[in-house]
């Protein structure tokens, strides 16, 4: 028996040694992205709003327009070569290029573009959020968005809205143009190919989907006949690496070229590595504490103000938030119209002040509340908040888990999370933080964070609406400044501490991979030395 065991062990070791030969750095025409491909419920552009899947879909589909990652306000042509806004801003006419084809070989036409936009609105899923804000509905979209001929797409606007906002939304990954013919071949029960497009792609992008296995891998292959030129990478692979330490080892070994969702500790270690570059891509969202205004204690302004002083954000900015955000207390993202020139401190970490405010609000013995983090990624911040809030007399019982559903359903007390946005305009963050047109439970406006916290300030909602209608850049900036000021004065239910940053670790030999703030990073220009 011992002899058999010994032989087995020797055999296994030999096999392991031999297999080492199979391991090497990634080939020069293959890009391997270590990321989280776990929670991708669908590849349908109309139904997505998460980071990883947005990046993937942005490479399987083309949009009518694109936004330059270095200058987001500059709108660039993609499938549309040119566009013209009517003098009264009531419509936009786009002229499509004639050399673009889908992966199926079908030409890309204005019919496809019109159908895609109509489909997004008709399905009414998360991808429709932006367009629905411009007044498009399932009833009016077919009439308002139409192909005049094979190359001309006309978009009539149902209400007065800044046309830049509409153009920005056309560059979002939810509006990747779908091959209508190919999709309709797989339509069942009038579902507009929703079921088929969950796990298949029908785009004109530079890459095609070879395989997708949830919790494991996504394999894409370049299109040799891509209208924008054949990409240098033959294959781009998204590999599921849920453990940050493991991802770091693979980045260091060269088995992974790009690292996403790398933990703070590992980023710290990689920061000094000459073989890597860490890109800090700012996002249009914030890290915040949310206070449910349906809770009689938390709805008192003094209590809300007290919560502004219980998070040691300066300490966090040096630890868990060092690579994931920078201190920011305005609801207008840095660099955008109406945003402060630089960081303005409206509230400092001051547990003593918080204790006084609580006493003034009628809680001299402090408060006891439940704290819900958005998910595991927010646990460190939540633990820190729990520890520092205790010094102010606030006992927070931390409930670990993913509590986005409770947040959406207004079924929480205190919540920590972060937001993201895909429109490079302050309007996008305003709709999250300063927009709540109907505060009733029945309204179910769970897309708006302000509704989720049940905070009702009609003046802020009106300012948001005004910013949507206004086209003059200076006037818009003034509206956002006014909105931000009012927000601060009212001691809001959503307390913003950091502006979001998405860190991407990129190996030195990779060129042309630029993390996009709207999560539509494209791989067509990536090369490797």
């Amino acid at each position: 028996m011992f002899r058999h065991i010994r032989n087995g062990i020797v055999g296994s070791t030999a096999l392991a040694l031999v297999s080492a030969a199979a391991l090497a750095a990634t080939p020069p025409d293959m890009l391997v992205i270590g990321t989280d491909v776990g929670a991708i419920p669908t590849l349908d552009p109309a139904a997505l709003n998460a980071r990883t899947v947005s990046e993937l879909v942005s490479n399987l589909y083309d949009n009518l327009l694109k936004l330059d990652p270095d200058d987001l306000q500059s709108i660039q042509p993609m499938l549309a070569l040119s566009w013209e806004v009517a003098p009264d801003s009531s419509s936009i006419t786009l002229k499509l290029r004639d050399d673009a084809t889908f992966a199926s070989g079908n030409p890309v036409t204005a019919e496809d573009a019109a159908w895609t936009i109509q489909r997004v609105i008709k399905l009414g899923q998360v991808g429709a959020t932006d367009l629905a804000q411009w007044g498009f509905t399932a009833d009016n979209v077919e009439q308002l968005v139409r192909a005049e001929d094979e190359r001309t797409l006309v978009i009539e606007l149902p209400e007065q809205v800044s046309t830049d906002l509409v153009l920005y939304s056309l560059a979002g990954s939810s509006l990747g143009i779908i091959d209508r013919k190919a999709a309709l071949e797989h339509e069942t029960d009038g579902d507009l190919a929703r079921d088929w497009l969950r796990a298949n792609a029908a785009g004109s992008g530079p890459f095609t989907l070879v395989e997708w296995r949830p919790d494991d891998i996504v394999v894409t292959e370049r299109r040799e006949d891509y209208w924008g030129g054949t990409p240098a990478m033959r294959r781009v692979i998204m590999r599921h690496v849920p453990e940050s330490g493991n991802l770091r080892l693979q980045l260091e070994a060269g088995d992974v070229d790009i690292g996403q969702y790398v933990g703070s500790g590992d980023l710290e270690a990689l920061a000094g590595n000459e073989d890597m570059e860490i890109q800090h891509t700012p996002g249009f969202g914030f890290y915040y504490i949310a206070l449910n205004q349906k809770d009689p204690d938390l709805s008192k302004p003094k209590v809300r103000e007290a919560f502004q002083h219980v998070l040691d954000w300066e300490a966090l900015s040096q630890s868990s938030m060092r690579f994931n955000g920078f201190p920011w207390q305005s609801i207008i993202p840095r660099g955008m119209a109406g945003a402060p020139e630089e960081f303005e401190e409206h509230f400092a970490y001051d547990p003593e002040r918080a204790r006084e405010l609580l006493a003034e609000a009628g809680y001299p013995d402090g408060l006891k509340k439940k704290l819900y983090p958005a998910g595991d990624g927010h646990l460190l911040n939540a633990e820190s908040l729990q520890a520092t809030a205790r010094l102010a007399g606030i006992e927070l019982e931390l409930i670990p888990g993913n509590h986005v559903p409770e947040f959406r359903a207004r079924d929480f007390e205190v919540y920590t999370g972060n937001s993201g946005g895909r429109l490079p305009d302050p309007f996008a963050t305003a709709t999250h933080y300063a927009f709540n047109p109907d505060n009733s439970d029945e309204a179910q406006l769970s897309g708006y964070y302000m509704w989720r916290t049940a905070w009702d300030v009609p003046e802020l909602t009106e300012l948001t609406n005004e910013s949507k209608r206004e086209s003059d850049p200076e006037k818009r900036a003034q509206i956002f400044r006014e909105m931000d000021e009012m927000y601060q004065q009212l001691d809001p239910s959503l307390i913003v501490f950091f502006q979001r940053v998405d860190p991407y670790v990129v190996r030195a030999e990779v060129e042309g991979y630029v993390g996009h703030p709207t999560w539509s990073t494209r791989w067509a220009d990536v090369t490797k030395n």
Binding site: P27, Q125, R213, I217, R239, P242, E252, G447
Partner: protein, 349 residues
């Protein structure tokens, strides 16, 4: 030698048939209980079954339509019957986190976990059984203490930490093994999936490069899980063996002048095989659903990650479907172990 029964032919057959019928009824009842339990679990989980299908971004009309489609307006017993009917047609619902039918997902993740658990159980048995026996034979001597420390270390060191350390040494420093997934990315999709077990599939296809890569990815997580199981297996093997070594037939065998290894392996070991089988079967069954930490460290696309994500995201169909299948596997393991018992030990027939 022909088998001898103390009962006459027809009566023996009847008795056998009776036993078979009894076992089948008991199996069917357990199955029904299992389905009732998972159904109940689905109703008790704090998740809206409609939102589990539609996702959060849903308008009222779609919500109402799906509510009716799911039969949630019907009495609970009718819903249960529909659920059982669905199971027998292989319909476990659709996952909201992967967008795929749960049955399709399980067909993908179970072979990965099965391959990992089987290899781990093999490693655990190959290490644990000899370790336990050597410890028993050398009771209270140095070798016994060392064996116990080896076993205990495997049990006490956090498996997550051990996984990362092992990766640091065997992947990052020595480059002997793969870091995550089941195979290197260059070999993805090269071998057609027949059994879902990559080692087997690549061997059938005769693609030895894929086989080596799959082995290099499997061996480290399997060894760590196996080492973790070693503690339990060796402790049980030691205690079973000690019990046998105190028996009279062992004394007789020794008195007869048989060498020690013959006494231990030929006589004592034969008598603990059945008990060891139960232990290994339990370890294996436990590995089928309890490998989530190792799966996370090694990015292994198995049941542990799938079920944990289902729980995190309130993906009810995933939780219900996975628990049901794990329950079925336990049932299958029990039935197989029972059968092996009867093959190995005539007294249990």
């Amino acid at each position: 030698m022909p088998s001898v029964s103390i009962l006459p032919g027809p009566r023996a057959r009847r008795a056998r048939l009776g036993r078979l019928a009894g076992r089948t009824v008991s199996l069917a009842l357990t199955l029904l209980g299992l389905m009732a339990l998972t159904f109940l679990m689905g109703r008790l989980l704090p998740a809206d079954p409609v939102l589990a299908v539609t996702g959060f971004e849903v308008d009222r009309a779609t919500y109402d339509r799906v509510f009716l489609e799911l039969g949630l307006d019907r009495p609970v017993w009718q819903q249960f019957l529909a659920y059982v009917g669905g199971i027998f047609q292989g319909d476990l619902g659709r996952s909201t986190t992967t967008g795929q039918p749960v049955a399709v997902d399980l067909l993908r993740v179970f072979p990965a976990t099965f391959e990992l658990a089987l290899t781990a159980a093999l490693v655990g048995s190959l290490l644990g059984i000899p370790l336990g026996i050597v410890a028993a034979v050398n009771r209270d001597r140095m070798i016994d203490h060392i064996a116990r420390i080896i076993g205990l270390a495997g049990y006490s060191i956090p498996i997550f930490w051990m996984g990362l350390m092992a990766l640091l040494v065997f992947y990052a420093k020595l480059r002997w093994v793969g870091a995550s997934g089941r195979v290197d990315v260059y070999y993805e999709g090269l071998v057609p999936s027949r059994t879902g077990l990559l080692l087997v599939d690549s061997a059938i296809a005769g693609d030895w490069a894929v086989f080596r890569s799959a082995f290099a990815h499997l061996i480290l997580p399997a060894s760590i899980l196996g080492y973790y199981s070693t503690a339990y297996i060796s402790r049980m093997a030691r205690s079973f063996m000690l019990e046998q070594l105190g028996q009279e037939y062992i004394v007789a065998a020794r008195a007869k002048g048989l060498p020690r290894h013959a006494v231990v392996w030929r006589h004592a070991f034969k008598n603990i095989r059945v008990q060891l089988l139960t232990v290994v079967a339990l370890v294996f069954a436990g590995l089928l659903d309890g490998t989530v930490l190792v799966e996370t460290v090694f990015g292994w696309p198995g049941v542990g990650q799938y079920l944990t994500r289902g729980l995190q995201y309130n993906d009810m169909n995933v939780v219900m479907g996975t628990v049901l299948v794990i329950g079925l596997l336990f049932l299958a393991m029990n039935t197989i172990t029972d059968w092996l018992y009867r093959r190995l030990d005539p007294r249990t027939r």
